[in-house]
């Protein structure tokens, strides 16, 4: 009954263009934010931080990034793992080279460096398209991982070849290293993600977003009506890589604390994120969150039910998970290419009309 547009008239184009045009949505959004910022930090413990909340925040950041490139701009990328590695290694080098630099700026600068690398690997998009471009991004994936593995400068010549995040704090509170409190790492990642999600929303609602989508839907027509295809694709590569780089930096420095490049940033991560945006919804910021949540929760759920509950061996659960995810990808592409986000929208439509259909 409350979910109505009625009485909620828009008097200006600004109002009409806002993120949550319906008051009820707006209130729900405020409620979610209040819980995220004011309630969860008091309830969070190690288990929730490590297995659910931090992965969710990190993968949401990365998924928004890939969604900008693939969902909004239509450029399929299989290089997400490699670009995350750039963010991670950039943050490592920055932290060790400039110990005074605040971790907040380290993370953002890592994103900036990743953006540059992303543009570099995006340059071929001026000549090649579609899955041809996907192969170009595979080149990025394999070359970058190899680079960080083989060139000792990147891991400061450490004997193990691993990188380990030193302790860094914000306002005197540790956010990296093994002694950081769960609520602190959580809030740090949450603040960054909230800011970036807001920026992504802004970028996609105006000129920039429309030029991305124009290139996605029909690149030739877009060019003929005045969209510069190269600049547009490169801007998508840059912004997307920025997000993915920030995600990689958070993944390594705040979440994992230590990483080995082949294991942490392999091609499997590229697929994982691709699946997040397909299941969550291509071309939707909300879908990036939904997909990340789904892909984080599914293994936890399967593990708890099958391994914990029924006592199955873990590898069996892993195989089943692969089968389920693969099947869902196909199912979503067939039935609902706009993913969970669209299902949510449809559910809301129904609610809006309830109890009188049509």
């Amino acid at each position: 009954m409350f979910y109505r547009e009625a009485g909620d008239f828009k008097t200006s184009y600004s109002d009409d263009g806002q993120t949550f045009p319906i008051a009820f949505d707006r209130w729900r959004y405020y409620a979610v934010m209040a819980v995220a910022f004011l309630v969860i930090p008091f309830l969070i413990n190690d288990y929730w931080e490590k297995s659910i909340l931090m992965p969710f925040l990190v993968w949401s950041t990365v998924a928004i990034g890939l969604n900008i490139l693939t969902g909004y701009c239509g450029q399929l990328s299989l290089g997400t793992g490699g670009f995350m590695a750039v963010g991670a290694y950039a943050s490592y080098k920055l932290m060790t080279a400039f110990p005074e630099l605040n971790i907040f700026f380290v993370v953002l600068l890592s994103g900036g460096i990743t953006a540059l690398v992303g543009v570099l690997f995006g340059l071929p998009s001026m000549r090649i398209k579609g899955f041809y471009l996907a192969v170009a991004t595979l080149a990025a994936q394999f070359f970058l991982v190899w680079l960080f593995n083989k060139v000792p400068w990147f891991y400061n010549y450490s004997a193990s070849g691993q990188i380990t995040a030193p302790e860094r704090s914000v306002f005197g509170i540790l956010v990296t290293g093994p002694n950081a409190a769960p609520w602190a790492t959580y809030l740090f990642a949450l603040v960054i993600l909230t800011g970036l999600a807001w920026v992504a929303r802004n970028l996609t609602r105006g000129r920039v977003g429309r030029s991305w989508m124009a290139i996605r839907d029909m690149d030739i027509a877009a060019e003929i009506i005045g969209v510069n295809p190269l600049a547009t694709k490169l801007s998508a590569f840059a912004v997307s890589s920025f997000y993915i780089g920030v995600g990689g930096a958070l993944f390594f420095s705040v979440y994992l604390g230590a990483a080995e490049v082949g294991e942490a940033f392999g091609i499997d991560k590229s697929f994982l994120v691709l699946f997040m945006i397909i299941i969550g919804g291509l071309g939707s910021i909300f879908g990036s969150f939904a997909g990340a949540a789904f892909m984080v929760l599914l293994p936890v759920l399967l593990k708890n039910v099958l391994v914990g509950g029924l006592g199955w061996p873990t590898d069996l659960a892993a195989h089943l998970q692969m089968l389920i995810v693969g099947g869902l990808i196909v199912l979503f592409l067939i039935l609902e290419p706009h993913g969970l986000a669209q299902l949510w929208r449809i559910a809301k439509e129904k609610l809006r009309l309830w109890p009188f259909p049509h």
């Binding site: 239509g74 399929l76 071929p124 000549r127 090649i128 579609g130 899955f131 041809y132 996907a134 192969v135 170009a136 595979l138 080149a139 994936q141 394999f142 070359f143 991982v145 190899w146 593995n149 083989k150 060139v151 030739i220 027509a221 003929i224 091609i267 697929f271 691709l274 699946f275 397909i278 029924l310 006592g311 199955w312 061996p313 590898d315 069996l316 195989h319 089943l320 998970q321 692969m322 089968l323 389920i324 995810v325 693969g326 099947g327 869902l328 990808i329 196909v330 592409l333 067939i334 290419p337």
Partner: protein, 341 residues
């Protein structure tokens, strides 16, 4: 001949042999792409699945034994028989045809007229599904595959190369695996029989008609669904051959599915629609990555640049394909296409 030259030739031969293996996977891609415009990412997993099924049948594994045991508390693993290779191969082929049928029924039928990129992503989903399914059915352990193909050192290559070297130089001869030679022969036979099939059988001609012009083929009454099942079956056969070759060489293991990724740059070079292109692309990539690795790990390169690098096979193929595409987007054999509006 000097030992350096012989070494280089050895690297080249082994590279070309590896290239044949890539080409085998790429071939399956080309078949499907040509007739339906679908870029089938699952081709590599199909090879893995075929090899797993073959081993499972041969050694009498109980399908889904793991799952059954977990659910019922039994401890079944094997039926306790050993099936002759020939029969097992035939049965596996049957399974691959069944798979083709199911894929058409459950997936392709529902995705006609979708964007190529959506279809591509759907086949990625299919690949994951099939890999999970294969693991559930046959377990994910590494398995030996032996269908009686010759393997091991080829004495002929060893002797012939020794004869080329200066007898004083202490040259030991080249190492070329008989299995690789077998693979090359099998690949050649496969290409020849595919060509004969498409030239001289009715089904083959229908296939070519569809590849040339979708609309026209449909209007003369060729059933697209039949074509798709047929093409995916043939791709299943090619996957089986590739699976047998790779499986005999490295054992049947999950990393086999990653060869699908290597086939991508092969196709970029050779073009998606050309069978000779797939072969040539495979050979170029195979030889290229071995020679490049040989070059960067050589003392001369190290002395010259001071770099101490290896394992370039991880990325060489992709970077080569990328650079190549930037200069010739249509591949080696494709025609330049001017888009229309």
């Amino acid at each position: 001949m000097s030992i350096e030259a012989l070494n280089l030739i050895e690297v080249l031969i082994n590279g070309l042999m590896a290239g044949v293996m890539y080409a085998l996977v790429a071939l399956g891609f080309v078949l499907i792409f040509k007739s339906s415009g679908i870029f089938n990412y699952a081709q590599g997993v199909m090879a893995l699945f075929a090899a797993m099924t073959l081993v499972g049948l041969q050694t009498g594994q109980v399908p889904f034994a793991h799952l059954l045991n977990a659910i019922t508390g039994m401890h079944v693993t094997h039926f306790g028989w050993n099936m002759p290779s020939g029969l097992a191969i035939l049965l596996t082929l049957g399974v691959m045809v069944g798979l083709a049928f199911l894929v058409e029924r459950l997936v392709l039928k529902h995705l006609v007229n979708q964007e190529p990129i959506i279809l591509f992503m759907a086949t990625i989903g299919l690949a994951f599904f099939l890999e999970g399914f294969g693991d559930l059915m046959w377990t994910a352990e590494i398995k030996q595959l032996d269908v009686g193909l010759p393997g091991g050192l080829s004495e002929w290559f060893e002797g012939a190369s020794m004869a080329l070297a200066d007898p004083e130089a202490g040259y030991w001869g080249m190492y070329v695996d008989k299995l690789d030679v077998t693979a090359a022969v099998v690949a050649a036979l496969l290409v020849i029989s595919l060509t004969l099939f498409s030239q001289y059988t009715r089904a083959g001609r229908a296939l070519r008609a569809v590849a040339d012009d979708h609309q026209a083929a449909l209007s003369v009454g060729i059933s697209l669904r039949f074509i798709w099942v047929m093409v995916w079956s043939i791709a299943g056969l090619v996957a089986l051959v590739a699976g047998i070759m790779w499986g005999s060489k490295t054992g049947v293991q999950t990393s086999l599915s990653l060869i699908a990724l290597k086939a991508l740059p092969v196709l970029m070079l050779g073009g998606f629609t050309s069978i000779p292109g797939a072969i040539v692309g495979g050979l170029i990539i195979g030889a290229g990555e071995k020679l490049f690795e040989y070059f960067v790990t050589s003392d001369a390169f190290h002395g010259l640049t001071g770099f101490n690098i290896d394992a370039t096979e991880n990325w060489f193929a992709y970077v080569l394909a990328l650079l190549f595409l930037v200069f010739r987007p249509q591949g080696l054999f494709g025609d330049r296409i001017i888009e229309r509006v």
